[in-house]
Symmetry: none
Subunit: 197 residues, 4 copies
DNA sequence: AATGAATGAGCTTTCATTCAT
DNA sequence: GATGAATGAAAGCTCATTCAT
């Protein structure tokens, strides 16, 4: 039913991001998004099945671009540990570049109902797959330990980055998020323990 | 105004957890909670200021007990790395023990409105403080590296555990969450890298 | 926000008068008014900000027409005492013509909350101004005494008419309200005292 | 059922006046009145049938005293026109003496539901009867015109005084209400018209 | 394709009254 | 007589979605 292309399709998605970032998820009514996109309320339903579809599409579009950009950048690098650093960098850098998107992603969209959550999780899988690939590569290259459970490592990497961005957004972005790239990478690679001397 | 003690107070909190876990946040009406607690709708307002207050109180009560139990257990141990293992264990074990609570905490309560979120974040701080204490102790004992940024380490520990539990809940708890204690602890301590030989 | 024009706007106002007159102020729920107006509950909120706005608008619309009709009629007359008689006549005649409106105005709307009261008082001022004009004209024409305090005279005129209509409504309109025009006018003009002979 | 005597009965009535004057009719909950009277909520129902009964009783008690005091004073005077002046004076003076009572009587109690209104009107009749008596006496004494309709005169007297007090209360009692006694009396007696010379 | 007026289901909270103690 | 904890009915308002134009 919904025609998921065209200029208006993009306009509506951008409008949704803007409205949600500005007014919060619970104040992001369809009519407000329509006004921001300069279309009629009904027009939204020509491009999307329902409101949840707007949110899920929004997340997929943005997340797709995010993953692709990250993938392109890390594949320029050889070593898995360098790729991991680049992934951490891209994650934090992209979020710090787009204030609205960070708010929407880390705070507002988490309040959405189960249907939207399901769509979001679906879109997230692509990113988790990319993380897995880095881990597997690291093991192959003998850079990461063989006995590291890749599912556990993936949770650590995603969980830490996610928590870092959320915490940064919640603290009104008072510090430079990208400055965390090295400390985080270092911690992932070397762990907490003191090196034997 | 609200009398935040007594048997009914506890009943209502338990009923809220049950209803939210069973029907989801958006289907957890006051009347449903009241029925589950075997009180009249109005009775809830003798013990809580409003619905948000029920949810925040619920989180504070449970989280307070959670943090206290964890603190008591880890303080029986000497070394910071052992304490960290115990904290990981307590986090995962307590969540795996209480199916409803895990769902409420990881999924449903995240959908709540800003007022509830603020109350929840407040309650979470106590837990983050406990994590910080373990990190500081580790540095003092020379068990953890001095040059580890404690804020980054805290984000890693909390972010990883949180992601692990969410992931486990979302996958319908198909595996034993406690089995992740060792892998996670190992990863936190030793990192991803291969040991020099 | 509210679009205060159109056929539906008028329909809702008429429906509100009817429902309030029939069921009383405290039984005039929005849903009842909507049903009477043959619109959905939500439609009311396209034309009015809230329930109080319906009531205030209703009063303003009706009172505005009332004052205008009265003004047009009295301005056809020269002498202030004739104008006063016409004002008394119009007041009593218009009320006796519209059973529902009289009930709403004299009984039901007086039960309304402070917000509505404030709006009503605002609308009443226009009528009081008209009364004042008649008094001033009378003084200019040498028909009314110069030493009559116009504020006191205004209270007498409005207070008496208001009491007359209220009393008539409360007594289930058993007599002809318009028959009071002459006695009231006579009393206003000549007072209680016996003429010196 | 209700025992309409005793110290607590009086306390509750005084408390009701105070609470209504202070917080307004719509904020005068039974529990608030009970607290002000230093009794339990349930105790009110030992002395009154229901909330409406409290309000009606309150009005009757106060109005009874008001009428009696007025009657005693005017009966000291011979002439009906003097009695009328005294009645005007007593009405305005008593209201201006008791701020709370004036607010309750003129503003707040008018918002009450039909049951209370009916009780109030009942209590008012005694006062209207007193006004009638003055008018009849005036006619007998040849002080007031025979051809004055007493019902109309009564409406004028009560309507004007009522409007005067309401207006004074609404204007935050910025002027001295008693200063209106002479102007009002003069207007009632002599009317608006210029004396023939 | 686009519009936007109309729909109507759904829910938190208040408060007069009761009754077991 | 006095208490006050408990009751539960009742209603204004929002907003995603539709559909006639």
């Amino acid at each position: 039913m919904a025609k998921k292309t065209g200029e208006k399709y993009q306009n509506i998605i951008e409008a949704a991001v803007k409205v949600i970032a500005q007014h919060g998820y619970h104040q992001a009514q369809v009519s407000k998004i329509a006004r921001e996109a300069s279309v009629a309320d009904g027009t939204i339903y020509l491009y999307f099945d329902n409101k949840a579809d707007v949110l899920v599409s929004l997340f997929k579009e943005k997340m797709g671009a995010f993953v692709q950009a990250t993938r392109e950048r890390i594949e320029l690098l050889e070593r898995a540990d360098d790729r991991l650093r680049e992934l951490i960098y891209m994650h934090l850098w992209q979020m710090s570049q787009n204030r609205d998107w960070a708010i929407v992603t880390q705070i507002e969209l988490r309040q959405s109902d189960p249907v939207v959550r399901a769509g979001i999780n679906q879109a997230l899988k692509e990113y988790l797959k990319l993380i897995d690939e880095v881990i597997f590569l690291g093991k192959e290259q003998g850079v990461f330990r063989e006995n590291v459970e890749h599912r556990v490592a993936r949770k650590m990497i995603f969980g830490t980055l996610d928590e870092a961005v959320t915490s940064w957004v919640m603290n009104d972005r008072k510090y430079n998020l990208v400055s965390l790239v090295e400390p985080i990478h270092n911690l992932f690679i070397n762990g907490l323990k003191v090196e034997k001397q």
